[in-house]
């Protein structure tokens, strides 16, 4: 890429996002530069002064903050604050690290929930301790590159964006600061998802209500960690130091890690997900960059919105469902049998060798009708 020489001048040059975007001179960059002038000239400004406001307190994935499944009352303004953190994350048991970029310090960023017709009022904070420009593109929003053109902020700045949640579904959000920065920020961890519920909650094809007892948020991430001459993963001291090397790995389209919730084993062992027989569990699964295919080993998806958009009728009884890169899916399942379940990306190489595995520990009474070991293993007679 002809931008490489410029990139190599210094890390500071690279990180000064506007200058860098100027060098590339792409369409995104020019949109980004002119966004401030063009964006506000939209339809009549709504009078939102009468709408109730509600502050959302975020929790870290795989959990989702408490929320109403069926909205009471009319639309609200839901206030969310996301603080950007550039920080080192450990990706696996071998101690492999990345200079990650995150919303709220986690990969994925936290899930937040609103209802269709609500307004999201986001405060995005880029602390001065960070070294790069960042922004946020909400796939749930309309216009300005998903809000990206209105939220590009330097270290030490904050910005407030309001957008109306007009479509019900689970949607990815991610950083998109322009040009080559976009994929690099996204595969450095800077993405998450939000849930826009229909005001009346989820329904099946006949309009019957579908509620859930638990909801878990699984954010899948592909990482591209450079190796040294010995084949060992390289360690970088500061954000941005990995850029040149990582882009080379990214271009192979072959991730070194494919993980759930930021690290191999983040949702296994002591962090395994929990459920009980008879509980209806909603699993939200996002992948901001790359196609994937969740599968619950030993279970199913009773009702699945593979594309995650609730105006569509859910698909029934799926074994594996497809999540297009840059989207999120929702799957509702009632556990029928106790035991241990693996929830995987059913490219099993990615599940086992690269890390995309979670476990469910499910308590309850075994159902012999559903399954029975008629003959225990015995020498062949």
């Amino acid at each position: 890429m002809d931008g490489n020489q410029d990139i190599n001048v210094s890390r500071r040059t690279l990180l000064a996002g506007a200058a860098f975007v100027g060098v590339l001179g792409g369409a995104l960059a020019s949109l980004s530069a002119h966004a401030e002038e063009s964006a506000p000239a939209q339809g009549p400004a709504p009078d939102l002064s009468t709408l109730p406001r509600e502050k959302i307190t975020l929790v870290s994935p795989p959990f989702v903050h408490e929320h109403e499944q069926i909205a009471t009352g009319g639309p609200k303004i839901k206030e969310v604050t996301l603080t950007i953190q550039e920080k080192q994350l450990v990706l696996d048991d071998y101690g492999t690290t990345i200079q990650a970029m995150t919303y709220e310090g986690t990969n994925p960023g936290p899930m937040f929930v609103v209802h269709e017709g609500d307004y999201v009022e986001l405060t995005l904070i880029n602390p001065a301790t960070n070294s790069m420009q960042h922004n946020i593109d909400f796939h749930a929003s309309t216009g300005a590159l998903g809000g990206g053109a209105l939220t590009l902020i330097n270290p030490g700045e904050q910005v407030k964006l309001r957008f109306k949640a007009t479509r019900a579904g689970v949607f990815v959000y991610h950083c998109a600061p322009g040009g080559a920065m976009i994929p690099w920020h996204v595969v450095s961890g800077m993405n998450g998802a939000m849930l826009v519920l229909p005001r009346g909650g989820l329904t099946d094809a006949e309009g019957n209500k579908l509620t859930y007892d638990r909801v878990y948020y699984v954010g899948e991430q592909d990482f591209y960690i450079p190796r040294d001459q010995n084949g060992d993963f390289k360690v970088y001291d500061a954000p941005g130091d990995d850029y040149d090397d990582m882009v080379q790995v990214m271009r192979t389209l072959t991730p070194t890690h494919v993980v759930f919730n930021g690290a191999v084993g983040a949702l296994t062992g002591e962090n395994a997900l929990k459920a009980k027989v008879g509980e209806r569990v909603l699993i939200l699964h996002s992948q901001a960059n790359r196609d994937t295919r969740p599968h619950l080993i030993g279970g199913h998806g009773d009702y699945v919105w593979p594309n995650g958009k609730f105006a569509n009728t859910p698909q029934l009884n799926l074994e594996t469902w497809h999540v297009a890169g840059g989207s999120a899916a929702a799957a509702l399942y009632t556990f029928l049998q106790p035991g241990l379940y693996a929830y995987v990306n059913h490219n099993l190489i990615e599940a086992v060798e690269l890390g995309a595995t979670a476990h469910f520990k499910v308590e309850g009474t075994w159902n012999d009708d559903l399954m029975n070991q008629v003959q225990a293993p015995t020498p062949i007679s």
Binding site: V90, D93, Y94, G95, D232, V264, G265, T268, G269, E270, A272, I297, Q337, P338, G339, L340, A342, V344, L348, A351, V352, E353, G355, A356, T357, H359, K361, V362, E363, G364, T365, W366, D368, Q373, Q375, A376, P377, T378, P379
Partner: protein, 284 residues
């Protein structure tokens, strides 16, 4: 089942427990049964430090899966009243020593995915690698070196040996309880730290002076996988060895295919895999 087959089955069930136990004890008894070959000169330079475990009564749980009828059960506790004393390496085989076997083209290269710094034990070795090293060391020293059985390992590990029993009543009607209990236990055994191999001696010695037991290196044993089915009253109904896999001992017991050099979790292999695969040998 025909009366004839049934009759044979009954005879089988009486005869085999004795044979099985005799077999296990024979392995232990073998230790002092061989005539010692005088060491050759080279031994001094590579002769590893040994600990002699004096005879004492002890208990262990044999390798393999156990069924009580159709239900999974804990391996039964075997009491050994008067084992032979045992000469076992004080430390796990060091990486530097293993490298000499590689240099002699008698061992394949180790392939550790976590590398330690300093005088570390060799890791990233399979059962087959460990067996090759034992042959090489035996040839170099004139002594007979081999992997310990699970019984011997437990005998030498003493208080550091993990009890593999889950303590659940076998219940074919509730297979999930065992899966969850086993998962829970393995999940909580690890300290959560990133476990690269540490220099020899980092984890102290047990009451007999054997070093680094139950550290971040699991140790291959000579004990095969397999399945033993007992009747509800404890009679042996069947036993089948499966020696394409062997057991490792460490913070928890694990079985692994003979050619695997690095354990990995994930997918439906629920549970906690060993951090690193290494070994130590006993000398007959």
């Amino acid at each position: 089942m025909s009366p004839t087959a049934s009759g044979a089955g009954t005879a089988f069930s009486i005869a085999i427990p004795v044979l099985l136990l005799a077999g296990i004890l024979a392995v232990l008894g073998d230790q002092s049964g061989l005539v010692r070959i005088p060491r050759i000169t080279a031994a001094a330079e590579i002769g590893p430090e040994l600990v002699t475990i004096a005879s004492r009564a002890y208990t262990y749980r044999p390798s393999g899966e156990f069924l009580s009828g159709r239900a999974s059960m804990d391996a039964p506790l075997v009491e050994v009243t008067a084992p032979q004393s045992l000469d076992i390496m004080k430390f796990e085989v060091r990486a530097a020593d293993y490298a000499r076997c590689v240099a002699d083209k008698a061992c394949e290269r180790a392939d550790p995915r976590r590398r330690g710094k300093g005088d570390v034990p060799v890791t990233g070795v399979s059962f087959d690698d460990a067996a090759a090293y034992a042959s090489w060391l035996s040839a170099r020293t004139g002594d007979n070196w081999r992997l310990p059985t699970i019984a011997e390992w437990t005998f030498a590990a003493g208080s550091k040996a993990a009890d593999v029993a889950l303590g659940l009543v076998p219940d074919a009607g509730d297979p999930a309880a065992r899966w969850l209990a086993s998962y829970e236990r393995e999940s909580t055994l690890g300290d959560g730290a990133l476990a690269a191999p540490s220099p020899l001696g980092s984890f102290g010695v047990n009451e007999f002076g054997v070093a680094d037991l139950a550290g971040p290196v699991w140790e291959w044993t000579a004990s095969c996988g397999g399945r033993t089915t007992l009747s509800p009253s404890g009679d042996l109904l069947s036993h089948l060895d499966s020696c394409g896999v062997h057991y490792l001992e460490g913070r928890h017991r694990a079985q692994m295919s003979n050619f695997v050099r690095d354990a990995i979790g994930g997918g439906c292999s629920a549970g906690t895999p060993p951090d690193n695969l290494g070994f130590r040998l006993v000398r007959d």
